[in-house]
Symmetry: C2
Subunit: 318 residues, 2 copies
Amino acid sequence: MTRSRDVPSLVAKARQGDPRSVARLISLVENGDPALPQVAAAMAPWAGRAQVIGLTGAPGVGKSTTTNELVRALRETGARVGVLAVDPSSPFTGGAILGDRIRMQDHSADSGVYIRSMSTRGQLGGLSAATPQAVRVLEGAGCDVVLVETVGVGQAEVEIASLADTTLVLLAPGMGDAIQAVKAGVLEIADVFVINKSDRPGADATFRDIQGMLALGDRGPGDWRPQVTRAVAVKGEGLDDVVAAIGKHREWLESTGNLQVRRERRAAAEVSALALGVLRARMGDPREGTALGELAARVAAGELDPHAAAALLLETIS
Amino acid sequence: MTRSRDVPSLVAKARQGDPRSVARLISLVENGDPALPQVAAAMAPWAGRAQVIGLTGAPGVGKSTTTNELVRALRETGARVGVLAVDPSSPFTGGAILGDRIRMQDHSADSGVYIRSMSTRGQLGGLSAATPQAVRVLEGAGCDVVLVETVGVGQAEVEIASLADTTLVLLAPGMGDAIQAVKAGVLEIADVFVINKSDRPGADATFRDIQGMLALGDRGPGDWRPQVTRAVAVKGEGLDDVVAAIGKHREWLESTGNLQVRRERRAAAEVSALALGVLRARMGDPREGTALGELAARVAAGELDPHAAAALLLETIS
């Protein structure tokens, strides 16, 4: 827990780019610290400074390597880069998960790069609320680009990635490919596809499958047509094309007014997630003799139907 | 939309095992039909009749084949079996996803098996609310076992699977294995591991890795020790072991009182998801001139911080 009086100095130091202060502010976000509203208020004016890039894909497509090389390519354009590697917490332990905190050491000596993995132990509203808040900390610290990398291909991760200004979806040949992308719901959210491991057999087929699926899409004349790029991240190949596609998408976003639309959508998701988090907290823990616990026991026993129980629950929390 | 006066006859026919009526009731759940509270009230008395088995795993481990063979093995014990293949909808289109509705045709002529894929187009409270309601329909229709298969390895899917009485986690050799299982948060929720494709190289290593990770777990003397089974679902091998492990877990659940605990947890998740769904509906669509839309625009513009916006939003909906 952070003392409220520490916040102004922490924010001031983060604004000057002090990495420890940036890290501490993101920890406040992650832990749902009581000082969070104060941090959010202090950071609000820098909202929207950075381009937020979501990056998602199934396990095994090479997300970490691609992120690492993409950071390198973005740094070469002179941009300051923040990376948030989002680890959805286990529903039970809420624990941190191995691995991410110890990777991307390539950039550890570069003061133009912040890298943080993030879970959501105590955060009201979960990742939908926590991610934009952490992005705002990185924006406040002067990042021009924030990469939000999500582990996995589930609904929550897809949603987080889709709240970015530009969403990259990574695929790799021979992983079930296009059909899996459809199943995971990533086809509709991708602004840029990156076919990683493009030196492997099957890369051409994956490329054609994705192009074929995109051709089926219902797109108007002013709509964005998702770009399909190829990379071999482990050799550092193809990342310039990815950066170019990101730039092209950015131009489209700005020229069409879609940047504003996406940012309001992100803000709406954040605000509603926070509000729902407050309401969820009011419901309390069902194991601790709350109204929710009593209602749940009656539903489990077949004495009450869940809709009636929900209506009774709403009376207790509003 | 279903007329309220149709519900009693639909429920009566579903109770007699009529597959069309069962299918229509699950469609009501899926679409968030206004008649849903009436259906829920009619089905409430049969809550808890079936053993609910969650089945999850990363894309490519062979979930569909394993589910198919597991249905066969369960049918051989004489059980009536329901299968819900849960497709998290895309956050944007909410559309149905290819594939699942046309598979498992092996069982299409067997009147002791109901198979349904399910997404959550209009459902208040999303899959956390829809899944238990669809389970209750299958319980009402006389199923002894309901398999809930979730696509993907994301947080939402893990949560749904974890709300079962017994949770199976499928792995396959050479897919990143144990570390990926940890990253996906499935290690803590698994009651039974199934190492599918156990005839492939690396199966022994996967088996050892999982056993090793389980040995690290902090377990008391009365706690359940997750079982690790091996299968080659495509050849129909090993499913009897899986069924035996499920039965053993069921005995543990009953003898320790944990069955009741899990069911109340599931009911609590359902009731709170429904209540939050009602509240979310009150917030309205941010693109339609609602208070949420106005607040989001101010947050995106940096004029208001999201916590302050959430507090203002709560005033408008309670």
